[in-house]
């Protein structure tokens, strides 16, 4: 019991510290691909956040609303993080409905992001959020479908049910759908259309400053870690079986790192797409995968 609680706390702390470090690694890798040196160390993103927290807060008239929503976003993100297994089923992810709850949190976080973007009443961020909403309509719809398929497939609402799941073509397709969802909703190129044009370059965050910006940026990185951690869990949990606990945890973090790197390299390879094209392409891609899932499901392969 005590071991469980202390392990849960330690892993949570690691998951809180890790996201900006992973971002630092990503920046280093991106620099390597561009043949440059890149940031001085992988801690650069942490330095950025620390600096933002030391700066003054300049806000618009709607500052207090922004602050309130940012706090909600932050706490929601942390709550979702609590539910995420890290190779080890912590005391929260063992819950009967942890997977369902986790998904609700993820959807809520996306929604709060949009609220956050309309809060400053800046036309640029409002344009940004409309684009994001358009993409979100496609993305979230298929996330729910994919999630439904997953819940039916694993026959339960908890992360623990993933352990006893076995791989099949259907499962791989569901995994593909959810992995694509994670990619799109982490706002990577070409799906960063909220920020696609120079004048919108800071996208929805244009009016945020100082500690508020720091908090929002940090929440965004944690959200990324959560989404990628979710994909990592989907991949490794059915495979782990009766492995040693420490080995399981290690495997989780390694796969999280690999997924993060794969996603970042993919986003470097892609070019920016047109605002109207991104949701369309995504829709057809998701539709195809969903149809394939249905077919393989009916064929029971």
């Amino acid at each position: 019991m005590w071991l469980d609680i202390s392990l849960t706390i330690i892993l949570l702390l690691i998951m809180l510290i890790l996201p900006p470090v992973l971002d630092g690694i990503e920046r280093k890798i991106r620099a390597k691909i561009h043949s440059r040196i890149g940031p001085p160390s992988i801690m650069q993103t942490w330095y950025d956040i620390r600096k933002l927290f030391a700066k003054e807060l300049v806000v618009t008239d709607t500052g207090y609303i922004m602050f309130f929503i940012a706090i909600t976003l932050f706490s929601m993100t942390i709550l979702a993080l609590f539910l995420l297994p890290t190779g080890f089923m912590n005391i929260f992810s063992r819950d009967n409905i942890s997977l369902l709850l986790f998904s609700i949190f993820i959807l809520a976080i996306q929604l709060i992001w949009m609220l956050l973007s309309v809060a400053p009443s800046n036309p640029y961020s409002t344009i940004g959020v409309f684009r994001e909403a358009l993409l979100g309509m496609v993305n979230e719809l298929f996330f729910m479908l994919g999630l439904f398929a997953l819940l039916v497939y694993v026959n339960g609402l908890s992360f623990t049910h993933l352990i006893s799941t076995s791989y099949s073509i259907t499962y791989v397709l569901i995994l593909l759908l959810l992995a694509s969802y994670a990619y799109v909703s982490s706002g990577r190129i070409p799906f960063d259309i909220a920020e696609a044009e120079p004048e919108l370059a800071s996208g929805i965050l244009i009016e945020f400053s100082g500690p508020l910006l720091g908090m929002v940026l940090y929440s965004n990185l944690v959200k990324r870690a959560i989404l990628y951690g979710f994909v990592a869990n989907l991949i490794i949990l059915p495979l782990l079986g009766e492995l040693n606990l420490l080995l399981k945890i290690l495997l989780f973090f390694i796969s999280l790192l690999i997924i993060w790197i794969i996603y970042s390299v993919t986003s470097i390879i892609f070019a920016r797409t047109r605002v109207d094209l991104a949701p369309k392409t995504l829709f057809f891609f998701y539709l195809l995968v969903t149809i394939l899932i249905t077919i393989t499901w009916l064929l029971r392969v």
Binding site: I37, G38, P40, Q44, K51, E56, S202, L205, I206, S209
Partner: protein, 162 residues
């Protein structure tokens, strides 16, 4: 405020106040992978609210002045300004024309009237300023390198031209 936190992470915002675009192109050059300013933790941001340092080019024309003041107001303190190019440093060839406000000295006065404090200004002369000079200017601003010139000011008689 802890200045040393700024030494490791410097976010810059590019503000053109009516320059001929010569200096702006040099700034863009300084931000390319060739010079790789990310090495020093420098990052270009698109909103003054995210910025630590404002890269100011141009002689600050009368038309751009209100926008310049607004943009500087939006920068959270500590706010630093890097005046890039002869124009920004002292008005350059336009320093006494009708459409500019008359160099940084006047500009500082106007900012004071509006209650906008600038924590530090560093001047990077040149027409246009070289990318190396711009990077050096940022380093100087944050005290990463030592100042090499003394702070003596020589004022040439009013009305005299170059």
């Amino acid at each position: 405020m802890k200045d040393n936190h700024l030494k490791k992470s410097i976010w810059v915002f590019h503000l053109n106040t009516g320059s001929c675009n010569g200096c702006d192109i040099e700034i863009l050059d300084a931000l390319t992978p060739y010079f790789d300013v990310e090495r020093f933790g420098i990052k270009l941001v698109a909103s003054p609210r995210h910025a630590d340092v404002v890269l100011l080019t141009g002689p600050i024309t009368v038309k751009t002045l209100p926008m310049v003041i607004n943009a500087l107001k939006a920068v959270p303190r500590p706010r630093y300004v890097l005046a890039i190019g002869a124009c920004a440093v002292g008005g350059g060839i336009w320093y006494d024309t009708y459409s500019v406000i008359g160099g940084v000295k006047e500009f500082k006065k106007i900012l004071e009237e509006h209650g906008v404090e600038i924590d530090k200004i560093v001047y990077v002369p040149g027409c246009p300023a070289r990318p190396e000079a711009i990077i050096y200017g940022v380093a100087l601003l944050l005290g990463l390198v030592k100042e090499k010139v003394s702070k003596e000011v020589v004022i040439i008689g009013e009305g005299s031209h170059h």
